[in-house]
């Protein structure tokens, strides 16, 4: 187990879920993948399937309809997992906090580990957020390892 968990922390795969963002944060997440910012140099890979992922990037506001989808995606990610909320919308609801169909903040639905501020969040900030998320991930992995040894 130790080997697998350690390599997990060295090369985490991220899945990006957009629940109701204005696209501003979305395209910045995508921009992170492209040559200028190149998030792959940290071993991070963007994939489409939540079942392969370790890190969940959430952008945008949650509303009653996509809440179910968000929860579903979150539950499909295997343990240990880290959730990064990107942009003002995902953190608190942002400019849309007062709308009738908006739930303020992703953390009302699922536990969030890292909050990335900004509207739109800059790619540098997103990378910082993901790297911070990795530290948390490492901690979680270690905790799991201890548990495994303990049994």
């Amino acid at each position: 187990m130790g080997l697998i968990n350690n390599s997990r922390a060295k090369s985490p795969w991220v899945v990006h879920f957009d629940c109701g963002s204005c696209n501003g944060c979305d395209i910045e997440v995508l921009a992170c993948l492209t040559p200028l910012y190149d998030i792959e140099r940290f071993g991070i890979l963007n994939i489409g399937n939540p079942k392969h992922a370790d890190v969940l990037l959430v952008t945008g506001t949650v509303n009653p309809r996509n809440e179910r989808v968000l929860r579903n995606v979150y539950e499909q990610i295997p343990e240990p997992k880290v959730v990064v909320a990107i942009g003002a919308c995902a953190c608190t609801g942002g400019v849309f906090a007062d709308c009738y169909n908006v739930i303020q903040g992703v953390d009302k639905i699922i536990p969030v580990d890292v909050y990335v501020p900004g509207c739109a969040a800059r790619p540098e900030a997103i990378i910082d957020g993901v790297v911070l998320g990795l530290q948390k991930f490492q901690e979680k992995v270690e905790k799991m390892n201890k548990k495994a040894v303990g049994n």
Binding site: N63, P64, R65, R68, D98, C99, Y100, N101, V102, Q104
Partner: protein
């Protein structure tokens, strides 16, 4: 009077019964349907239908009392479907003869909030939920 960028649009006053026929006339003349808008007043809705041909716009305007049924123009212009469903969602308008009827659930999910009346806009979900509950109990009691 409505304006577009450069000039006033031609405006035609009509009624709910004549709406379908007027729309058909415009369709036959090569107009396309652009958008329908709703202005909400105390006890009636003002509906505005925008049509376009080249760079001109023509407006159909009508007033209907709240709760009245409006003939859907989606059999003529398929693209009216989305906006009419949207209005059903957000204003509680009722359309007759929609091509596809989402039943007021285009945007809002089954077990969740309804759009509040425009006078209550700007409230967030938790408040609206409370409002819905109140409305529900009021319905039961009344």
């Amino acid at each position: 009077m409505l304006h577009n960028q450069t000039k006033e649009t031609n405006e035609v006053q009509t009624t709910a019964d004549k709406l379908f026929a007027e729309t058909q006339k415009l369709a036959d003349n090569g107009y396309r349907f652009i958008i329908a808008d709703v202005f909400e007043a105390e006890d009636n809705f003002e509906l505005i239908y925008q049509f376009g041909k080249d760079y001109d716009a023509t407006t159909l305007r009508l007033t209907v009392p709240k709760g009245a049924e409006i003939p859907s123009i989606s059999p003529i212009f398929f693209n009216a479907l989305l906006i009419e469903n949207e209005n059903q969602d957000l204003y509680g308008l009722k359309y007759k003869g929609l091509v596809v009827d989402f039943g007021g659930r285009l945007y809002m999910s089954q077990d969740e909030v309804e759009a509040p009346p425009q006078s209550m806009a700007g409230m967030n979900v938790s408040l609206v939920k409370k409002w819905n509950k109140k409305a529900d109990t009021a319905k039961k009691e009344g």
